[in-house]
Symmetry: C2
Subunit: 219 residues, 2 copies
DNA sequence: ACTTTTTTTTAGATTTGTCTAAATTTTAAT
DNA sequence: ATTAAAATTTAGACAAATCTAAAAAAAAGT
């Protein structure tokens, strides 16, 4: 079956919100999509009749397994295109989201299959987020954010959850990118900032706000 | 300014029809877009208020210079994506039109600039049609179709105006592709068929119907 | 437990792009 | 020059997706 751009955007946003809370509220979805709660209610009735969500009036909603599969397919398309934009066309990673947002709705399965192969079957997108496979299987990367890492531990940056130009600017300044290895020296109790050391560079201190957006794994 | 997918499709179709006749009729455009004449009239009023077409009731219409520039930009996007699909993703040329039809509406100028550079600034798409440049300049390739070529002349295939799988099948069978060199041996008066010789293959006869879709230039 | 606030839904309107059927204009035919 | 046929436009309706304003339900506060 084929879904409209609008339907796909709703499905994808519900998916993303469900990463944080099991069931999603009308307001939060309206906020995510920059639309009005009334519009959300309208669309949710539609998604319910199409049997993609579980929805009870006033009770919130969540994707059922069909909806989830569709969401993962959209996420797959989005992340493959992001990979393409960064690794083939040379975009900076803070510029690709909006373009991938449009490309993800191009509805050819063959296209995505070939794109995947052309890109050599990447496992993660440029922000370090895993790319679901054709069957909607997605790697769960056990990761912690930098604020949770004990002092003296070596870690590898696996993803960054804020993709703004401002964030990118900071990360570049600190010489941090996906798969960069760094060592946590010390946590400061006063403001939660963290001193780290990145390879051959001098140690530096990053604010809690920045640290909270950097996800890492051990080894 | 930004145009809807629908508006872009109308603009592009008017452009294509104008290649054959200076002014375009409501019916022919409806036919091209698989829509109804009434819908065409509606959209044309809109394009007129947006000052993209010259339009007089019952008199047909044509793109003005603004409309023409926009059309050429859409054609540029379409053909660059077709080139990408064939030369990078390995699609056969008869499969790319519908996908490029969707990709062409993705509205990032930077994307197209980078795609162009990634593809190494191709001059023609996989069917041999010229790709307009950023300013809407398009090479006019002086070409004749095979039925018009005098016997004993050597020519190079520059484009093929029918992109169906059936046509591709025939061309493959005859070992004809874009930039193939061939020699016209003889025209048969009875049915307009043409005997040709392609490089080291044995001469063969192609029907007038096929010959009329193969465009060539000398040398 | 009752009231206030917040959240969600309904009702009705709007925009974009489309359609059918009827009316109008142009073109072709006798 | 009339009439018949074809092409085009208008009028009015419809579907998708959105909105505002009002009503209803749930949650929070006293």
């Amino acid at each position: 079956m084929n879904y409209s751009v609008s339907e796909e955007n709703y499905i994808k946003s519900i998916y993303h919100l469900q990463q944080q809370t099991e069931t999603v509220t009308t307001n939060s979805l309206a906020n995510e999509l920059h639309t009005k709660p009334a519009s959300v209610t309208d669309m949710l009735k539609k998604l319910q009749t199409k049997k993609l969500v579980e929805y009870e009036k006033y009770r919130g909603f969540k994707l059922n397994s069909t909806g989830n599969k569709i969401a993962l397919n959209i996420v797959r398309r989005h992340r493959l295109w992001e990979f393409f934009l960064v690794n083939k066309l040379g975009f900076e990673w803070d510029k690709v989201h909006d373009i991938a947002e449009e490309l993800e709705h191009v509805s050819s399965a063959d296209l995505i299959k070939r794109l995947d192969s052309f890109l050599n079957f990447p496992q993660t997108d440029p922000h370090g987020d895993p790319i679901p496979d054709t069957n909607g299987k997605i790697a769960i990367i056990k990761q912690q954010c930098l604020t949770e890492i004990a002092a003296k531990k070596n870690v590898v940056v696996s993803s960054v959850s804020n993709q703004s130009p401002e964030m990118l600017e900071m990360l570049k300044h600190y010489h941090i990118a996906i798969s960069t290895t760094l060592k946590v020296n010390k946590h400061f109790a006063f403001d939660g900032s963290v001193e780290i050391k990145v390879s051959q560079h001098a140690s530096c201190i990053i604010s809690q706000q920045v640290a909270a957006n950097i996800f890492v794994h051990h080894d």
